[in-house]
């Protein structure tokens, strides 16, 4: 083939050259030359290599845009360390029901299993429902003792094995407002912490200060929620608001000593500036609990302050107690297409009795973060939080809020 091409090339140039008489004939000569060198179109080496890597379907799958199996990053539990897994999602034809399942494992031997059914489009789009099963195995969850003044040097770890089944049923009263009911069952096993650098929880904390550290209640729970949501892209919002209130009753069906009510309020407001290239994001979060008479709230169901969501300058699960109040303010700015940065302040505290709610004695932390995102969702964020207890750096594959 090469020889033939070369001969054609030589013949073309060494043939007696008549001056072109017209522009058209000049073009035809060029075409002759090209015709002698035709080869089938084939992708360049980089197109072949990267084309396989970045097939549209693969990219869409990575971003969760298509159904089926996809890679999942993260161990599925705060503190699990680097983790990987696989998620699977499949819709029915009408996309009124989906099945999902996921398995994840991490380098710290955390495991998580999820499965469930979702019904996002009931009653002609007015209703939605879900049924979820979950098992979490987290062998080295941190615990520092109860209260807003717990000490960092009292750090311990415990094993959390948590099995849950839950369901929800909701109605969209309008495009922005939805209400619903939730319920389920929860079984938790607490065991010896497996972090070799810190003592196990039972070595340092007694049941008197750490409820249910030595026994395993089983709960049946039920409640309801109300959600007002005007955010345009809830996965990576730049404008709008989300106000969510939830009430849950936890009934201890095994020991009858750990029944309580819990009220959760999550207020998020996004104030766009400069065509949404700057966003002031504000969040107020509260979780208030009220144990039944003579009952306590198991420490592992208590809210916590500290970690990648609340109090990013503190260790994860740094502060436990029956109630928690958290405030966050972020100034987010776009630095490039698909990349934002944020300066943030987190304040909050835990407290024992709901009536003691106050903005005094907040734990403060502040920091800076990078967020890579698409138009619809957060892909990855790196937040560095600073507090009086040092610096914490968080790599997460979710949005802070």
């Amino acid at each position: 083939m090469r020889l033939r091409t070369l001969l054609a090339f030589l013949a073309l140039f060494f043939s007696p050259q008549l001056p072109a008489q017209t522009r058209a004939s000049e073009i035809e000569t060029e075409r002759d030359r090209k015709s002698a060198q035709l080869t089938p179109e084939s992708p360049t080496r980089s197109e072949s290599l990267f084309g396989r890597l970045f097939q549209r379907e693969k990219v869409d799958r990575m971003l969760g845009r298509v159904e089926g199996m996809r890679l999942a990053f993260g161990g599925g539990f705060t503190g699990s360390g680097f983790g990987l897994g696989a998620d699977y999602e499949l819709y029915n034809r009408a996309r009124t029901m989906s099945f999902y399942g996921g398995v994840r494992g991490s380098i710290r031997k955390y495991y998580r299993f999820d499965a469930g059914l979702r019904f996002p489009y009931l009653l002609g789009g007015r209703g939605f429902a879900s049924l979820d099963l979950q098992r979490i195995y987290a062998p080295r969850v941190e615990y520092y003792g109860p209260g807003n003044d717990s000490r960092e040097e009292n750090r311990t770890s415990y094993l959390l094995e948590r099995n849950s089944i839950g369901g929800s049923l909701g109605v969209r009263l309008s495009r922005r407002l939805s209400i619903g009911l939730e319920g389920g069952g929860l079984g938790v096993n607490i065991g010896r912490g497996q972090n070799p650098d810190f003592p196990s929880i039972e070595q340092r904390f007694l049941p008197a200060v750490t409820p249910a550290v030595n026994e395993q209640p089983h709960h049946v729970l039920g409640g309801g929620f109300l959600h007002w949501d005007t955010r345009r892209n809830p996965g990576a919002p730049r404008t709008g608001q989300s106000f969510r209130a939830q009430y849950m009753q936890y009934h201890d069906v095994k020991l009858s000593r750990y029944s309580f009510r819990q009220f959760e309020l999550d207020l998020q407001q996004y104030i766009p500036l400069f065509n949404e290239r700057r966003v002031i994001a504000l969040r107020g979060y509260g979780m208030l609990a009220d144990p039944d008479h003579g009952n306590q709230i198991p420490f592992f169901l208590q809210p916590t302050f500290g970690g990648p969501r609340f109090g990013r300058g503190f260790h994860r699960f740094r502060y436990y107690d029956q109630n928690m109040l958290a405030l966050t303010a972020e100034y987010r700015w776009e630095v490039a297409s698909g990349l934002d940065m944020a300066l943030f302040w987190d304040g909050g505290r835990v407290f024992h009795l709901a009536k003691d709610i106050t903005l005094k004695n907040l734990q403060h932390s502040a920091g800076i973060g990078f967020r890579a995102h698409t138009r619809e969702q957060m892909l990855v964020r790196i937040d560095a939080g600073f507090s009086r207890e040092g610096v914490q750096v968080w790599l997460r594959f979710d949005n802070v809020f």
Partner: protein, 531 residues
């Protein structure tokens, strides 16, 4: 051995080139060519796909082409001959108002009353489907984002009409309204299902896709329908290089005037998604010839639309990856607000983010670099500007009617924004060359059209003229006395076949040379060198 072979081939090529150039003349009898010769018969061309990530990475990291070469496919009067890439339309041959609004055609709109047979399905970020109407024509249906009715469909239609009227090959796009019960599922139509599999498409799938779409009072959904192009698709064309299997593709695409000059219409219409992915080569057979025709397709990302949502305010101001602005944003901690972020946009979902006040022609850029734009020069941009200037406000209004905006204010906003952007383009690009065209010699006096003045942007010019006799074989100019627009007496009685040139200069250092050939019936304008 390999090095010897390379040197040998280089020597052969050089010898050939020299032999060829020894025979070359500046002008041929058929200059200026108005149409490229009929295309060669194309025997076998493969479909060549293009990956969007690869294209974005290659163009972002790739080396820019040499920007100082003249476009290689222009004729001797610096215009693009009609051909398989471009056909001169409104800027050269004025279209009537009806032709203007028709774009690539108005006679093949899908029947809105009969049934539509769904014959294909598209998943992903911008889902849609392919259908056949009762006349047997095939279309691609593109939906609006539910939160922004009319946004993408208007862009899709306006893009095809404007680019067609300029001269590019585009599909016929229509605004359509249909009821879901018009849709029938074609036999054997499948859709992606799970991991790499397909399954039969059902009516439920179609209704699911449509369930969030807004309906009008008659229960109809509005969308854009794009008539399937004639021929067989062979993949997108690149904005650089040539196809290896097409004998007609002899000019590197980055050196094609219509691709270099496309920068200007693209910036006018805010077509930030102008890249190889939104092009399509079709293998067509016409008049016994089989050849590739090169199309621009997919205009859902022009004006204020980004297909699935309004454009980001960044669009048109910065590429996807820009080092300096990114570093400024990082190290200023967001204190430095880019000027484009302060732009004011109308609160009109059908318009999205489209405005003129912050539009800066010299700064406008597509989503990622386009090699042909990087190779462009002032003469290419001037050519592109003429395509835009051909549209008067009345013309623009005529075309924008095709968007069928429900809100008259949206129509007015788009029209006025296009008028303002056109003015800004004119003010910026007209000054970069000596913007004179349509040269002629009549009664021994040079005449031309001042493009700036003709379009309402008059400039003070003190023009000077330098006449020469021109030897077409040696390309030598022999100057003759005379510095006005009148042909000097020494040149008036030259024999037929003789050439003269006139160097025209303005006071600002811009100049051009026009060439004329003596014919029995007078002077023929045959050449123009602008830079």
């Amino acid at each position: 051995m390999a090095a010897f072979r390379q040197r040998f081939l280089a020597a052969v090529a050089l010898a050939g080139a020299l032999a060829h150039s020894a025979n070359a003349r500046k002008f041929y009898e058929d200059d200026p060519l108005e149409r490229t010769p009929p295309p060669r018969y194309v025997k076998d061309v493969r479909f060549r796909p293009l990956n969007e990530v690869v294209d974005a990475v290659e163009q972002t990291l790739g080396r820019s082409p040499d920007p100082f070469r003249k476009a290689r496919n222009v004729n001797t009067i610096d215009e693009v001959p009609d051909g398989e890439w471009f056909v001169n339309r409104h800027a050269v041959r004025r279209l009537t108002p009806r032709q203007l609004s028709a774009g690539a055609g108005l006679d093949a709109a899908p029947s809105e009353t009969g049934s539509w047979e769904v014959t294909g399905w598209k998943e992903g970020k911008t889902p849609g489907f392919q259908f056949r109407d009762e006349n047997g024509r095939t279309y691609y249906l593109k939906l609006d984002p539910p939160m922004y009715p009319e946004l993408a469909s208007s862009a899709e239609v306006l893009g095809s009409v404007f680019f067609h009227d300029m001269g590019y090959h585009v599909p016929q796009n229509y605004i359509v309204r249909f009821r879901p019960d018009q849709l029938q599922i074609g036999k054997g139509t499948t859709m992606p299902w799970g991991t790499g599999r397909t399954r039969p498409l059902t009516r439920v799938d179609v209704l699911t896709l449509l369930r969030n779409q807004p309906r009008d009072s008659q229960g109809r959904i509005r969308a854009a329908a794009s008539l399937r192009l004639d021929g067989t698709p062979k993949g997108p064309f690149r904005y650089h290089g040539t196809r290896q299997d097409d004998p007609n593709d002899i000019v590197a695409h980055e050196h094609r005037r219509e691709l270099r000059g496309l920068l200007i219409p693209a910036s006018w219409l805010n077509h930030t998604d102008v890249n190889a992915l939104n092009t399509l080569d079709m293998l067509v057979e016409e008049g016994g010839r089989r050849f590739l025709r090169h199309h621009l397709v997919d205009f859902g990302s022009i004006l204020g639309s980004d297909n699935v949502a309004p454009k980001t305010p960044r669009a048109g101001f910065e590429n996807l990856v820009e080092r300096r602005p990114t570093l400024i944003q990082i190290f200023s901690l967001g204190a430095v607000v880019p000027d484009w972020a302060r732009a004011k946009y109308p609160d009109m979902p059908s318009v999205g983010r489209f405005e003129a006040d912050f539009f800066e022609p010299e700064r406008w850029s597509p989503r990622y670099p386009v090699p042909a734009f990087a190779a462009g020069r002032a003469d290419d941009w001037y050519w592109g500007l003429k395509l835009v200037l051909a549209f008067t406000e009345q013309d623009i209004r005529e075309v924008v009617r095709r968007a069928e905006y429900t809100d008259p204010a949206a129509t007015e906003w788009v029209v006025q924004t296009l008028v303002k952007r056109r003015e800004k383009l004119a003010r910026h690009y007209l000054g970069q060359v000596l913007s004179l065209d349509e040269f002629a010699i009549s009664e021994n006096r040079l005449s031309f059209r001042d493009t700036a003045a003709h379009n309402g942007f008059p400039r003070e010019r003190a023009l000077s003229y330098q006449w020469s006799r021109f030897d077409n074989d040696s390309e030598r100019h022999t100057r003759v006395p005379g510095n006005g627009p009148d042909v000097p007496s020494a040149l008036r009685d030259l024999p037929t076949g003789s050439y003269v040139s006139v160097l025209v200069k303005d006071g600002g250092g811009k100049e051009l040379t026009a060439y004329f050939r003596r014919r029995a019936d007078g002077w023929q304008w045959v050449g123009l060198e602008r830079l």
